[in-house]
Subunit: 235 residues, 2 copies
Amino acid sequence: MEYIVRDADIAPVAALIADPTRAAILTALLGGRALAAGELARMAGVSAATASAHLARLLDGRLVDVVSQGRHRYYRLAGHEVAEVLEVLARVSARPPVRSLRQSRQARLLEEARTCYDHLAGRAGVGLLDRLREGGYLDGHDLTGAGERLLSGLGVDVAGVRRSRRRFAPECLDWTERRPHLGGALGAAITEVLFERGWYRRGNVPRAVVLTEEGREGLAALFSGKGLTSVTPVT
Amino acid sequence: MEYIVRDADIAPVAALIADPTRAAILTALLGGRALAAGELARMAGVSAATASAHLARLLDGRLVDVVSQGRHRYYRLAGHEVAEVLEVLARVSARPPVRSLRQSRQARLLEEARTCYDHLAGRAGVGLLDRLREGGYLDGHDLTGAGERLLSGLGVDVAGVRRSRRRFAPECLDWTERRPHLGGALGAAITEVLFERGWYRRGNVPRAVVLTEEGREGLAALFSGKGLTSVTPVT
DNA sequence: CCGACCCTTCGACCGTCGCCGAAATGTCGC
DNA sequence: GCGACATTTCGGCGACGGTCGAAGGGTCGG
């Protein structure tokens, strides 16, 4: 009956995320791209020295990886588990009040379509899962025969995805929509193909992605005219 | 292209979890029961004054709820979303080295069977999901006809569970087994019935639950002799 | 090689936060 | 009402951690 809490100690990892500057850095990296130390310093609004210290701690805590290229050092999240922590945390955190017009536009862009580390999120991500389910391409947690054909035709290496040790097609609760979108190895593979085909491209706002004209047409053809979202484009 | 990270601020919530004492309090509450301030102080190994200050902050941050009963104040987690954050965080956190014999026994108990806020976790939780899948009771994310009959027979109010706004039967990745167990409204309802029937009871170690003799027999009858786990009892 | 650039390390400052003992508040049993 | 108990509030101490400017390694372009 002695008091000992024998669990994983979650405090050290939480402490790494607890600093506002580090949280900003991690959130910026949630876009999935590797970013240079200087870029991260600017995004977080601190000096290079400060950012460097924070990055060293994140590295030590294995929340980020680094790859040196010439005089740049590119940082990225250490894995999708880290991204999951950030997403879950976002769900219980209050959304900050929108202060400026530009911020409100950025917020709308992120709500429309963004990456959740390596897969599509926001209305587009939720819509993708809905279309796959409605069309009978995905049943429960697995692809149907029709689903395999559809995605193979798009260029997704379904067999390769199945060999991955990562969960195949889990739902990931979207923190803006509060409804599930498609995550896991399949979600990542589909998202990769969407970028390769130029149907989506990365926006100027860190995590945002935008639908291209080709994407609009391609997705409409794929899903009998519906596309992933029915809203008018965010301007 | 200005640097602004317009996301939910995750830093304040992370900061609440980042303190080792608060983390211990939250982890203790992950058992699902409401605990008095004094108990939490003992479990976390701090004075009543210190625990009180921490609880006030957790309350302010909406991570815990409190209910006053006489001269006691019972604290509990504010909801299953909070429990999810703690679980996800545990998955990316290192497991602390086991120091004593008693701790190793406690660790083994938790790995065998515990509650993850309001549903069964550990080997037993993973086993439950496996048995439901193997037996054709659960298909993807939904109960089959056979599943509805099985659980209704046990005393689970399946229709009531379906009316809940919570997700019906999501997978929850177990942090010790690294395999999914059954979460959501259904997982909670089944766990409740297991307690009501006396098949499992809460152990002395905070989050641990133990299989009773009735439970061993009942589960074996239910799942053609297999039970939820095949290991010998933890001593 | 040499200057320009990116990044990290160093040193120093300062605020915040966790901690406890003691006192105050509130509740129960009698 | 009056002690006994659970909990919170107060006051003060000490430590840790975030911040920056300046200086020190590396790396690229010429």
